[in-house]
């Protein structure tokens, strides 16, 4: 052990394989050499060394992402949790079997007193008439702040008990001939 601390042995110089004297070696120079000569001493900073060393580590990359990217992940995570909660409430209303169909199709069939409807998670409510389908635009106010299934629940309750109010509020966005076979949807 004593040989390592004699004044004739310079571990730094040996490690970086340089012929320079001890006095010429600075910490920065050592970092640069370790970094496979990618950077000159002048341009090598603590940051560049760190980035080079940590490149490829997913965890490090995550922490190096812009704050906005991380915030977006948090928002998406919250939306997923909210959607799950909304589906749990819908489960109480339509049961396990129909919730499974809803989860697969994203559509709920609802019977009103005047018409039948299909409420999709995304898009216009479809009013099913004898020979045509009418697109209706009606939703929770500021609906994008709610999980999609909350909107489906609200429309279901409105149609079943207050169909006329829903029809008064809704704006018709167009219609098309009713196909012989309708798309699969969860129903009660």
């Amino acid at each position: 052990m004593a040989s390592y601390i004699t004044s004739n042995y310079d571990p730094w110089s040996t490690w970086v394989n340089l012929s320079t004297t001890t006095s010429a070696i600075s910490t920065n120079y050592t970092w640069t050499t370790w970094n496979t000569q990618t950077y000159t001493t002048a341009s090598s900073t603590s940051d560049t060394v760190w980035i080079s060393w940590s490149a490829g580590s997913p965890e490090q990359e995550y922490h190096q992402q812009p704050t906005q990217w991380r915030q977006q992940n948090v928002v998406e995570d919250r939306r997923e949790k909210a959607e799950l909660k909304a589906k749990n409430l819908l489960l109480d209303l339509i049961g396990k079997e129909q919730l499974k169909i809803y989860s697969e199709t994203g559509r709920l069939f609802v019977k009103g007193k005047k018409f039948d409807y299909i409420i999709p998670k995304i898009g216009f409510i479809k009013r099913l008439e004898k020979d045509k389908i009418v697109d209706l635009c009606v939703s929770l106010g500021n609906k994008y702040s709610f999980p999609e299934t909350d909107n489906v629940i609200a429309m279901k309750l409105l149609i079943e008990d207050e169909e006329d109010k829903m029809l008064d509020l809704a704006n018709e966005q167009g219609s098309r001939p009713r196909p012989q076979k309708l798309q699969l949807a969860a129903c009660m």
């Binding site: 909210a82 909660k85 909304a86 109480d92 339509i94 939703s139 709610f146 609200a154 008990d161 704006n171």
Partner: protein, 74 residues
């Protein structure tokens, strides 16, 4: 036990009450009325779901009440 399910950006917020506990009933009723004043619509649904019915005053015997924020035409 009764429950208010208030739709919001987290999915919903639940307020429960035991009808034998007057403090809980009072708190739930107060919440109900505050939301109605804000333009929410309340639907009483049976525990097993099925069809809801609109109510305008708090029903402490209701199994479940779903509170829906204002609905608009697009």
């Amino acid at each position: 036990m009764g429950e208010l399910r208030i739709l919001d950006n987290t999915g919903d917020t639940k307020v429960i009450w035991d009808k034998n506990n007057s403090d809980e009933v009072e708190a739930a009723e107060e919440q109900f009325e505050t939301l109605i004043d804000k333009g929410f619509t309340a639907y009483k649904v049976k525990k097993d779901g099925k069809k809801g019915r609109k109510i305008t005053s708090f029903d402490q015997d209701a199994g479940k009440i779903i509170m829906i924020p204002k609905i608009v035409g697009g």
